[in-house]
Amino acid sequence: MSILVYVDHFQGAAKPISWEIMGKARELADRRSVPVIALVAGQNVGNLAADAIAYGADKVLVADAPAFASFNAQAFTAALKAAIAAARPNIVLVPATAGARDVAALAACELNIGLAAECQALDLDAAGNLLADRPVFSGNILATVVFNSPVQMATVRGRSFPLPARDAGRTGEIVPLAVSLNGLAGAEEILSFDVTETGELAVENAGIIVSGGRGVKGAEGFAPVRELAKTLGGAVGASRAAVDAGWIPYPHQVGQTGKTVRPDLYIACGISGAIQHLAGMNGARVIVAINKDKDAPIFGVARYGIVGDLFEVLPALTAAFKTKLGR
């Protein structure tokens, strides 16, 4: 009996969602009086194991081997299956990140475990079974998933839970996890990894997103959008129109065929507010719209609006924040 948490990271740097679900796992585990066990798979990831304890794990299973140096669906699936065999969990929580999402599905299907994907809220029923809330129909309907399997797995989207406080004084057990990779050799080979990450904050992890659409008129038009995002410590988002036009790469796209985001603040600049875009961002706490067209649908979901030219409004807004925040 335990709750198992999959710690996703990139080259040893934990993704925030890993600790967000660790905090939730801690809370659920305390309600059931069971331990939280973390899985850390990677190469030279000893520091992550210590962090996992500081964020709430009682025990960490560490699979540290060259086979886990870069994402490999088969190797990480083998690690998750080995962790499930070792930890005998009732509940397994996995970040809904690219890669980890595949690992969860592959392991769950092979072990015939029920999996609720892309969840945003988790709870327990009276018997201690997992209840997982997730959006379906592209955010237009919410469902609570109930399980009919003894082991219950969920992948969870970023920013669904607050980041727990790191407690360096917490203690726990760190044990190596043996993962058999026999039979997998050569079936999936990673030849190279072209890291495009520019150090920019990813939209799915951002508390503030400044997003540009057709109204930015070109790649250069994203300059004032970036400037405001930088001033606020936020991420740069985009509508499908801007991505399809080639003004900004696909990972920035917010909407039905892009990322679903839930920031505290979403500033939509030159975005009309097509239904497919709204599906990706209408979970934001506060939405601000800046658009020339006072009848643009985006104003229908916005709390604050400015009707005007984004090339005038954004620099003015950046200047105002710089003054008021002392940045």
């Binding site: 990139f10 490999n72 669906a73 690219a98 890669g99 999402r101 595949d102 599905a105 592959l106 299907c109 092979e110 475990i113 029920g114 999996l115 994907a117 379906v136 129909f137 592209s138 955010g139 237009n140 309907i141 919410l142 469902a143 609570t144 998933v145 109930v146 399980f147 009919n148 050569g186 999936e188 030849l191 190279s192 990894f193 072209d194 495009t196 990450e197 503030i208 696909y250 039905q256 065929t257 603040l265 239904i275 497919q276 979970g283 706490r285 506060v286 601000v288 719209a289 104003f299 916005a302 709390r303 604050y304 400015i306 005007g308 005038e312 409004v313 003015a316 807004l317 105002a320 008021k324």
Partner: protein, 265 residues
């Protein structure tokens, strides 16, 4: 070389907002149904692979007679063979049950190099059937394929989109992949294609015609999860407050004050 695309009929994205929670799971959602937009990229890629590697493409879907509409679109785009999997025993299957049924259909189609799927459906949103299918078939799975670099007799090389960049990954064939929207620009069916699709017959394959099917893995009885308490998300309340001012600078300062007061910065 055979390329098999698994597709789904889903609501038109413009009408997803009109789907009523109480209608979910029924035969009629009261909205226009189309080929899942993510699946269009998979169909297009299969057609391009046929041209590049001299193969053939098949499209498979599971559902009622209505699901033929998804097949028709793929045929109109240029796919030669279309298979409808339809049986009351399939109804209520979860992702793993669906994957088991699709896996038996893939095996029935014979030697294949690749199965292609979209990233996810716009209704279920789970993205689980693709990896489930790979697990059921016992073959490698590569998600988020942004480019098929090469396909040979025994292996294929892909560009896999991860959150931090692009990985070049080589897997043994056969394999299952899900494609990213970066991979191509789906073609529009031409008049000849549409005519061909409308004249084609789409006989249904039922449970009996799938030799490896395990009745214990499919249908509502085998489902490991259930959607309950279906509801509309809380509506955004309140009207938009338009920030007015004598100048843009004044508007901007006013908006900045309001956002700081909202404690979102």
């Amino acid at each position: 070389m055979k390329f098999i695309v698994c597709v789904k009929l889903t609501p038109d994205t413009e009408q997803l907002i009109d789907v009523k929670p109480q209608d979910v799971g029924s035969d009629d959602l009261g909205v226009t149904m189309v080929l899942n937009p993510w699946d269009e990229f998979a169909v297009e890629e299969a057609l391009q692979l046929v041209e590049r590697f001299d193969g053939e493409a098949s499209v498979v879907t599971m559902g009622s007679k209505e699901a033929t509409e998804a097949l028709k679109r793929a045929v109109a785009m240029g796919v030669e063979e279309a298979i409808l999997l339809s049986d009351p025993a399939f109804e209520g299957s979860d992702a793993w049950g669906t994957a088991h049924i699709l896996a038996q259909a893939v095996k029935k189609l014979g030697d294949y190099a690749l199965v292609l799927t979209g990233r996810q459906s716009v209704d279920g949103n789970s993205g689980m059937v693709g990896p489930g299918l790979a697990a059921k078939l016992g073959v490698p799975f590569v998600s988020g394929v942004a480019k098929v670099i090469d396909v040979t007799d025994g292996s294929a090389t892909f560009l896999r989109a991860l959150d931090e960049g692009m990985q070049t990954v080589k897997v043994k064939l056969p394999a299952v992949i899900s494609v990213s929207k970066e991979i191509n620009e789906p073609r529009y069916p031409n008049f000849m294609g549409i005519r061909k699709a409308s004249r084609m017959q789409y006989p249904a394959i039922n449970a009996k015609a799938l030799p490896g099917l395990d009745a214990g893995q499919i249908g509502e009885g085998a489902a490991l999860l259930k959607w309950t308490n279906l509801r509309k998300p809380p509506a955004r309340t309140g009207k938009c407050e338009f920030i007015q001012g004598a100048s843009v600078a004044e508007q901007a300062a006013l908006l900045a004050d309001k956002l700081i007061a909202e404690k979102v910065i």
